[in-house]
């Protein structure tokens, strides 16, 4: 066990955790950021996506003790226009993958405000939706600015 110091959504946190604990587990179980989901827990599905210094990464295979940058979770994107865009496009079915989808999409539109369909498909390929709402996710991202 040792201390972990993290910046999450602009606030500093410290937690006491065993080395080897994933960032996803720490966020959810120690810090209460339960918007980050754990689905496959092996780096395949993208449900656990968070940003570190603005870059989407998989928190389920990131070791909490190995994080050096600033973390943004779905809770930090509460006021992002993408949230309303996902609602408007009805891009949510069961909703379990949605936090990861929005975190990835937020990084995409920050770098590329008007992404083409191909850019969306390329940059969103790491977020799997088993309900198959991909066409509506694409639509939400295309219309994110309303």
């Amino acid at each position: 066990m040792s201390d972990v110091l993290l910046t999450v959504n602009g606030q500093s946190y410290s937690a006491y955790a065993p080395v080897g604990m994933s960032l996803a587990q720490l966020l959810r179980e120690e810090l209460g950021f339960t918007g980050t989901k754990i689905a496959c827990n092996e780096g395949h599905c993208g449900a656990c996506t968070v940003q570190i210094d603005g870059v989407p990464v998989l928190s389920c295979i990131t070791l909490a003790h190995n994080v050096t940058g600033e973390i943004t979770t779905i809770e930090g994107l509460r006021d992002h226009p993408l949230i309303e865009a996902f609602v408007e496009a009805d891009a949510v079915q069961c909703g379990f993958c949605t936090p990861g989808q929005v975190v990835s999409a937020a990084a995409l539109v920050a770098a590329t405000p008007d992404p083409t369909v191909d850019q969306i498909r390329h940059q969103m390929a790491g977020n799997i939706c088993r309900c198959g709402t991909y066409p509506r996710i694409e639509e939400a991202i295309q219309k994110w600015r309303g």
């Binding site: 040792s2 065993p18 080395v19 080897g20 994933s22 092996e42 780096g43 395949h44 993208g46 996506t49 870059v55 989407p56 990464v57 998989l58 295979i61 990131t62 070791l63 003790h65 190995n66 050096t68 990835s104 498909r121 390329h122 940059q123 969103m124 390929a125 790491g126």
Partner: protein, 275 residues
């Protein structure tokens, strides 16, 4: 377990080195890797592209958009894994990744795990090797390694300089390790000789975020074309010319891979001839 953040290469003595963690963390969790000490090497491994040299700590995401990088490597990075994994994973780590053989990943006591048989040869091997598969039929999953192999890459480590093909060896009863790095030896940089044209083509079971069923890289220097394949042998495979596939030894359910590889090789060679 402890985690040490290395600030000099001398500090990397013992334990398991971790960079992006996309391979090490799942293998630790599954108990395939075991250690009391992890060494975070991000602070000591070169990162970025300078001319024809690539720092081993450069991520695949950085490489897929870098115009200095030859086409084959850029395309191999772009077609590899998922955006998040490309953001995390370093090119050095990518070269050291383990097979996706389901028996190996599920810890069957196979040849690579120190056992006395290859379960894939007798069992499910649809995704497995079509070359050098008599002892272990696993397929090497690195798109990037195939691209770098075709490009004639030299590897600079903390101890030596070697051709990329010498980083790998086929497993035998005496030596089951597929990588020739000594304990504690780290890949620092990759050096890419200039080529006139290159390409990477990949067959996968969906259009994005899949390991290669067959990946084909071709690089042309003058009239000479080097061809290397991913997903066809336990190590990245340098093909002996366009007819090299005649020497394939597919298992009963991998013959289809030979035909896919033939088609991709034909396309790749045509592509670099025209560039």
């Amino acid at each position: 377990m402890e985690l040490v953040r290395a600030t000099s290469l001398e500090q990397v003595d013992g334990g398991i080195a971790i960079h992006g963690g996309t391979e090490v963390v799942p293998l630790l969790r599954d108990g395939i890797l075991q250690t009391e000490k992890l060494v975070d090497i991000r602070g000591v491994i070169p990162r970025g592209v300078a001319g024809n040299r690539i720092g081993a700590g450069t991520t695949l995401a950085e490489l897929e958009v870098d115009p200095q990088v030859p086409d084959a490597l850029r395309e191999a990075c772009r077609l590899a894994a998922s955006p998040q994994l490309r953001n995390m994973g370093s090119i050095g780590g990518n070269l050291l990744q383990s097979t996706r053989c389901w028996y190996w990943r599920l810890k069957y006591p196979c040849h690579l795990h120190g056992g006395d048989r290859c379960h894939a040869r007798e069992g499910e091997h649809r995704e497995h090797a079509i070359f050098a598969n008599d002892y272990c039929a696993s397929a090497h999953p690195s798109d990037v390694a195939a691209a770098l192999l075709a490009l004639g890459t030299r590897v600079h480590t903390t101890q030596r300089e070697l051709a990329l093909e010498d980083l790998y060896r086929l497993p035998t009863v005496e030596e089951r390790e597929l990588v020739t790095l000594a304990p504690g030896e780290l890949i620092l940089e990759l050096e890419l000789p200039p080529v006139d044209a290159s390409v990477y083509l990949k067959a996968m079971d969906r259009k994005r975020w899949a390991f290669p069923q067959v990946g084909v890289a071709a690089a042309r220097v003058g009239g000479e074309t080097r061809i290397a394949l991913a997903g066809v042998a336990p190590v990245p495979w340098l093909l002996d010319g366009v007819d090299g596939l005649d020497a394939a030894t597919p298992l009963p359910r991998t013959a289809w891979k030979v035909e896919v590889a033939r088609a991709l090789v034909r396309r790749a060679v045509t592509s670099v001839a025209a560039k």
